[in-house]
């Protein structure tokens, strides 16, 4: 029995079924986890721009930061196991996964840049400098990632429905 004799599997491979959304979610979670990791390694540990805690944080800020940190820690591991599972089942859709990756990374960057840095003032990008340029480049980078991710995701979805239209006359 190969996948072509199984309509459900064939549909799945084109991303309209479970594995399409699984590829997307695995990508989104990995994007979030990846960006959190980059944030920790580059800005906290290597550059020492970010502070562990700058002592001016509100309670709500601490909670939001803690939840996002724990979530992204979990997400980075879970998304890689999901990726391995998709590959094992040969139902990974790479464009959808990459679309998800960029969307997740952009979302994290923007959330961190706008909600954490600006609204909640958990910590700033860097201390003792004029923040304007830093904030703008941080958030523009996030927005570009997010937009690219959304565009890629939509395009991969369209491609799949086009393929599906070629393959069968349904819908």
């Amino acid at each position: 029995m190969n996948e072509h004799s199984n309509p459900a599997a064939a549909e799945d491979r084109r991303g309209s079924g479970k594995s399409g959304s699984r590829s997307l979610w695995s990508g989104v979670l990995f994007g979030i986890g990846c960006m959190a990791f980059v944030d920790e390694v580059v800005f906290h540990q290597l550059l020492h721009w970010h502070h562990f805690y700058d002592l001016s944080t509100s309670g709500a800020g601490l909670v939001s930061d803690g939840l996002l940190h724990a979530f992204s820690w979990f997400a980075s591991v879970a998304s890689l196991f999901m990726l391995a599972d998709l590959r094992r089942k040969r139902s990974l859709l790479v464009p959808r996964w990459i679309g998800g990756l960029l969307t997740g990374a952009g979302f994290f960057q923007l959330y961190d840049g706008i909600v954490h840095h600006k609204l909640m003032q958990i910590h700033q990008i860097r201390y003792g400098v004029d923040l304007t340029a830093y904030d703008w480049s941080w958030n523009i980078a996030g927005a570009v990632l997010l937009l690219a991710g959304i565009v890629l995701t939509i395009r991969s979805g369209r491609e799949q429905s086009r393929l599906k239209g070629d393959g069968s006359s349904r819908e």
Partner: protein, 303 residues
Amino acid sequence: MVLPVNSLRIESYVRLAHAHGSMENVQGSFGGIAEWTAPLLLAVPLMAAYLLAAALTGRRYRRWPPLRSSLWCMGVLLSSAAVLGPLAAAAHGSFTAHMLGHLLLGMLGPLLIVLSAPVTLLLRSLPRESARLLTGLLRSRLAAWLSHPVTAALLNVGGLWLLYATDLYAAMHHFAALNALVHVHVFAAGWLFTASVFPVDPAPHRTGMRFRAAVMIAAFAAHGILGKFLYANPPAGTLPEDARSGAQLMYYGGDAVDLLLIILFCRRWYRSAGREIPASGSDLPKKERTASVRKSAKRGIHS
């Protein structure tokens, strides 16, 4: 209980000032081999009991996996190192040393012990009647309530908040009985929490995987938030410098143990998802599929 909290605090500061540069003191006292016999006095009987049970029951049942035995030994050694001996002594003067002890006693030790499946071994070792009694106990409503992930997480991380965000931490260094009680609680709650989100022993009241993942994330977050809170608000009787390094150890060390638990949790999901492969949409050859199913069944938890 009315605590002379203020005088307690001052006393602790004086004590700390004497033990200035507490981590240096810790390193100084780590040298003596003789001092490490204290934790061994606690650990060796526990290790011997486990190994004996494994060997004896191995005659009647399947051979007990040596990996589980070594996990038990490591877990017991690390946990007892936090309670007795040089590290425990250093924890009296240094918050950082105390936090290292907490990571061992409340997180890494319990994780290793959960992985060693001691309740399963106990069930194998007990006479039939007592084993039935124990199973009944595990099935009871009280056990269901206690082993619920939310209860376990509250007892575990909630207990830590209570310990460090109140004067309990300072009081603990003044009353030996309270000190012992706190250690027992930290260990028991750590075990309970780990077993509730990642059960290896029989868990008749197991909750769903997504639910457990959500509780894990919330509990990890509460642990990390406490770390940051302590960075800014040193527990009574702790010097700010010491509190900061201890808080960071709590945050990053906690992340490291959490990572182990997350990997184990996800690997278990990955294996169970693998068992479903033959159901639909797989192009693995049939032979390979059945082989993988057989293998994972063989690798069952209660072997």
